[in-house]
């Protein structure tokens, strides 16, 4: 038999206030290399843009498009590549390395929609895929539109009068 429960504790009680503890825990977090992450994001993001530029050049030179005409099919090809990489389970691993580098280009937007669609396929085509596809991308569209509205207003007032 072990001894009966002690009435007085031989140990001190936790004396930290939540504020003190949060500061203490903050100190214990492993540092995140901001510079390293910026460099990785720049390199990967830049590489994605370089691939995009190469695709665009192909459309211009092989299919005799103007650069303006080439932009839509270029974006479509990038989206396709991103969707394929997402489906193969590669894009999320790239993102862990690249951070914003793979999130900011159009490929990141495609990844957010494709991953949500894949994830919720098990809940059916309507409520699953249809209802969840914009789960992450929806916020980008909403605030992209809101931002465009305010930029448009500013442009109207300060700029060329809507021209």
């Amino acid at each position: 038999m072990a001894s009966k429960g002690n009435t007085s504790s031989p140990y001190k009680k936790m004396s930290m206030s939540p504020k003190e503890y949060q500061a203490f825990a903050k100190e214990k977090e492993p540092p995140r290399s901001v510079l390293g992450n910026c460099v990785k994001a720049f390199l990967v993001g830049g590489s994605i843009c370089l691939v995009g530029q190469a695709i665009s050049e192909l459309f211009v030179h092989l299919m005799n498009m103007t650069p303006e005409e080439a932009s839509n099919p270029t974006v479509a090809v990038l989206i396709l590549i991103s969707v394929i990489l997402t489906s193969l389970g590669v894009y999320d691993k790239l993102a862990q390395f690249a951070g914003a580098g793979s999130a900011v280009p159009v490929t990141g937007f495609a990844n957010s929609m494709c991953s949500a669609a894949l994830e919720h396929r098990s809940e059916g085509l309507v409520l699953g895929v249809g209802g969840n596809m914009f789960k992450l991308a929806g916020a980008v569209i909403v605030y992209g539109t809101v931002a465009a509205f305010f930029v448009g207003i500013a442009h109207l007032i300060l700029g060329t009068g809507g021209q």
Binding site: M1, A2, S3, K4, G5, N6, S9, P10, Y11, K12, K13, M14, M16, P18, K19, Y21, Q22, F24, A25, K28, E29, P30, R32, N37, T86, S87, G89, Y91, D92, L94, A95, Q96, F97, A98, G99, A100, S102, A103, G108, N111, S112, C114, S115, A116, L118, E119, H120, S122, K135, L136
Partner: protein, 340 residues
């Protein structure tokens, strides 16, 4: 019976007569691979959804546990289990297959020891002769429910943890051969205001400290009475914090080996798991797979498993609430001796 303020002392020495663990591919590449009953080579386990895969893990673990205990499933009086899914569906659906009277419990990742403590109490009090405790988690179901779609490209901070894909089940009986459950300490909810769901280790560390100290106060034991004390899933950030806090409070943790299941289940340096493992399955597969086998091999005489749980929901953290945490401790010892 009640010992101290919040501990149960099991006078009748309930025995773990059989246990089993089933894990996924990442755990199969970890250092404890050989300790698990079954390693699935693929995350989907040929199921149509992640949720079905998680349920399969638990169904297989309970099946193997029954086999390892050399009994029939009709001999299980009660099944006590829980998991991380909304409405603990993995356990409820697995209990449907099992067909035993079922008590669903939820303590997030502390469910492993919560269910084992309840199972032991049921057996010790004479309410049952054979009770199975089980829990499971799956990396992809947890990602899907708590974070983002599994294939979504977001960079996780180094404080984040990797949910273990695995299930563990143990059968506690009033008589038989095996390690003995000596006592359990039920934890209080502790919340020191951490709000970052990517730093659950730091959020849960104070709960582990609170339960460990309560355990020593209630039972009169000291860290030196244990060959090994493990926390459930504090991992690389939370575990050193817990150790610092305990040492600051004067608890001599240097008299024992103090480790964490989240650091044991993976090779944290080589596998890309950020700070380490987490999830209900984390402490379950390490305890039921690795630790019970070490006790059986005679390498450990007495261990204290302090399973830690973060009691948040996706809704609560989106609403800016802090993360309430809990820890439950269960002492498991070799043989049938109940020494001080």
């Amino acid at each position: 019976m009640l010992r101290g303020k919040q501990s149960w002392w099991f006078e009748n020495k309930p025995v773990i007569i059989g246990a089993a663990t089933v894990v996924g591919p990442d755990e199969g590449e970890g250092p404890l691979a050989s300790e698990f009953d079954l390693v699935h080579p693929e995350l989907d386990m040929q199921q149509k959804s992640w949720e079905k895969a998680e349920r399969l893990l638990l169904e297989q673990a309970s099946e193997f546990a029954i086999q390892n205990a050399k009994m029939d499933k009709s001999g299980i009086n009660f099944y006590v289990g829980g998991d991380l899914m909304n409405q603990i569906i993995s356990n409820s659906f697995a209990a449907r297959s099992l067909g035993a009277p079922y008590l669903g419990v939820f303590g997030a990742c502390s469910t492993s020891m919560e269910s084992l403590a309840i199972a032991s109490q049921l057996v010790d009090s004479g309410a049952a002769t054979h009770v199975m405790a089980g829990t499971c988690s799956h990396n992809c179901t947890a990602e899907k429910q708590f974070r983002y779609p599994t294939e979504y490209g977001s960079q996780k901070p180094p404080t984040a943890q990797y949910t273990v894909t695995g299930a563990g089940a143990a059968i506690v009986a009033s008589t038989g051969e095996g390690p003995v459950v000596e006592c359990a300490t039920i934890g209080k909810v502790v919340d020191l205001g951490i709000t970052d769901p990517f730093n659950m280790g730091a959020a849960m560390a104070p709960a582990a400290v609170d339960t460990i100290q309560a355990h020593f106060n209630d039972t009169g034991r000291t860290p030196g009475d244990y060959d090994l004390i493990v926390t459930g899933d504090l991992a690389g950030v939370g575990h050193p914090i817990a150790k610092d806090l305990l040492m600051q409070n004067g608890v001599p943790m240097d008299h024992t080996e103090f480790n964490d299941c989240g650091l044991m289940v993976y090779d944290v340096e080589k596998q890309k798991v950020q700070a380490g493992g987490s999830g209900c399955g984390c402490s379950a597969v390490v305890t039921y797979g690795h630790l019970l086998k070490r006790i059986a091999r005679g390498e450990l005489k007495r261990v204290l498993v302090v399973a830690t749980g973060a009691l948040l929901s996706p809704l609560s953290f989106q609403q800016g609430e802090s993360i309430p945490c809990i820890a439950h401790a269960v002492a498991i010892a070799a043989g049938k001796e109940l020494s001080p």
